[in-house]
Amino acid sequence: MKKSFVFTLLVLFALVLSPVAAQEDTLTVLCTPQEDWCVAMTQAFQEQTGIQTSYVRLSSGEALARVRAGASNPEFSVWWGGPADAFIAANEEGLLEPYESPNAEQIRPEYRSEDNSWTGIYVGALGFCSNVELLDELGLEPPTSWQDLLDPALAGNVAIAHPATSGTAFTAFWTQVTLQADMLEYPEGMPEETPEAGADRVIGTGEGYNEDGTPTQAAIDNAFAYFAELNNNVLQYTRSGAAPGRMAGGGEVAVAVVFSHDCVRLQMEGFEGVVTTTFPEEGTGYEIGGMAILANAPEPEAARMWYDWALTAEAQAIGQTVLSLQLPTNPEAPIPELAVNLDEVNLVDYNFQAAGENRQAIVERFDAEIAPEPAE
């Protein structure tokens, strides 16, 4: 656009139309993680392949909305990053093009979809990012459970993103759905033996989970009740999922609900000693950062090249160079020194498929019922 502006002017005034044919020497990436990771990835890919790579950074929910809006004539070829729920929702609507990458075999099966519609590129767990000094003044300890966030002493001192725009916030919401389902299903407490992923679930009261293992409407309603209560403590719903962490770092709020790697990142960016990361004991949600090729992609070949490349250990090592401390899904990729060890965190049994299928209904309801309500 900027190169031949005089030409542009001429074209503009004449309103002559010559649609530029899609060429395979360019690639347009829809990028959901933090901006500098997008920059590093696209630059590295461009250097390796010579393909002119541009990107737009949008939060997960925004990205899904944009893909949906442009379905008939997509502007992007590949969508890289953000919780898998959004990819599953997109796949339900036929917005993704399945691709069986030769490199996908290296990725553990639970980190990719069965129908090859998306593949996981990183994993990260949700946590609480707290301003130590501020909590001290309020006479509170860093929260260690979701109930702690409802403490009236935290009024106006909690920040979280809006689930409609942010995958982080949606992950937090679905985590709550899962926890509420567990409580309904096992009022006596969780069964001792947690079955391995994929194995049959221990059947409880049947009130928390439907027969197919998806959380019941009652569980979803309870999660809404939780967020309605939390709303009284929330200062601001931000657009992007990592933003609340900064508000905690800056001392505007005491506690932020963010992905734990974003809190660690803050510590590296100048907030060392200011913020601390904690996890809810009853269990926290996690994201599998997804990647997919979009249906009717304008640059399908370049998109497949990106897809293969992004699954390599080499590409997955780029994140930590720009302080994106998510855990890579490729077992060969180096684990960032400062990454949160997921084995030490109590993770809920997060049903990504059900989360993706319920996504739209939940965010619409959240946007209508919770977000517009002023805090009491």
Partner: protein
Amino acid sequence: MRRIVQDPVLATALILVVLFIFLAIILPLIYTIRESASAEGLALFQRYLTESVYQRIILNTLAMGVMVATLGTLLGFIFAYVQVKVKAPFKRLLHFIALVPIISPPFALASALILLFGRNGMILRGIFGTRCFWGEGRSCNDIYGLDGLTIVLSLSLFTVAYLNLKGMMQALDPALEEAATDMGANKWHIFRTVTVPMLIPGIAGSFLLLFVEAIADLGNPLILGGDYEVLATRIYVSIIGLYDTKAAAVLSVILLLPSLTVYLVQRYWISRTSVISITGKPAGTPQQITHPFVRWSLVAIVLAVCFLIVLIYGTIFVGAFVRVIGVNNDFTLQNFDFVINGIGSEAMTDTTTLSAFATPIAGLLGMLIAFLVIRKTFPGRAALDFATMLGIAVPGTIFGIGYILAFNNPIELTLPGIGNITLLPKLTGGRAFLGGALAIVVVYIVRSVPAALRSGTALLSQIDPAIEDASISLGADNAYTFRKITLPLIRPAFLSGLIYAFARSMTTISAIVFLTTPQTKIMTAQILNEVENGRFGNAFAYCVILIGIVLVAIAILYLTVGSSSGAERTLEGGA
């Protein structure tokens, strides 16, 4: 009518102007209203207008608009009054500081205000040791919500009122006030019965602009709103988070109603109170207020506001050069490195080029329409003015939605035997014409023309048409008269229109936030990303560069457009 047709230059200009206004303003609005008038949309209207949650959001929006319009216009008036009529120290410096907020990149002021007066703000907490202005816990009154929004928006917007009112005050013929003095009226009486009534078009115009700007503002409520929800943020989430064009269109129409109402009231009001004061006859210098109490309290207000502006922009400037301002104040150039050597360079060139393209078009178009509307008679004259003003009376987000709805597909004409002819290519969304740049330039123009038109008409309606009639009767044609007489006469308005257009284009977010494409990166959208991701350092570095670009542009405009020409000298130098 006969004269328009007889002059082909004028007729062509008129047709082009009308066509542009129709395509760029009316058509997107029609699409938005059509979208909201669907069965589903009507059901949403019912819901939004009856549910208490949405009623409160509507009231919030209106309250914010009224507060900002009142405070901002008042500030603008005081600043203008001090400049023109009060003996005050450092006038030029105060004028310069008052101009600074027209270059307020979205989010910059709000971010700086949070850093200064937020709950952990360097001043509120650092100096006064408190997190709330008053109250604590649930009743904590902090910077978030209506009060903070009013302060930030009034500070960002009062310059428009200031420039409008200053131009008009300077143009007022002092002879009127002298006459009143000679007849024994005191200064207060003159102020009430002479000065203010003559400025009413300017005051009303400023109030309209500020009200609409405020209720349309997106950036500030996004980060400073707290739980104070307004319509613009609801519209934003509807599109960006849900891509629910129906809900967005319905909310847009609801937002449109107060904007248009205020606009209509203001039009009706102005038409009754128009005053002609420039006659082309010699005029004196304005009398200065010397009453010590009046003088010093006005100067004190101006100084306090200027101090706040300096503080805020100082924070932005310093914040651009340190790691995390207030937390880790080590000097660094990393932020600039990120912006200049990273993705920022593309955003810088793209935004500047598009703005530079839109500015002269917007300025000239504004003056041309002002000239046509005030001086010429043709059917639909009022409608043309009305439609052009919609460019600002209609909130930016609504244009964003309207453009998506109207221009996401090419507009084609099927001719039998020839095939399809593309009248208008796809302007927005994926693989849009020129990477979406055309749509963005058009939006820039649409959003800037009304300010130029309004200051043009405000000034032109005070200039006696006899001056132009003299030119015509001496044998000059319309185009020559416009170029040689009208344009120089309204040059202050033209200049402020140009400055406004460029600064506005460089800093606009609400109208283009739905229109950016992978090929066209816009600085304000990048700033939003940085602010949202908590990297105030990068965001401030963007802001400093953006402010630098606009300052250079203003300097260029002053040097080229601002120099005195014959006609104006005759008017001013007559005294």
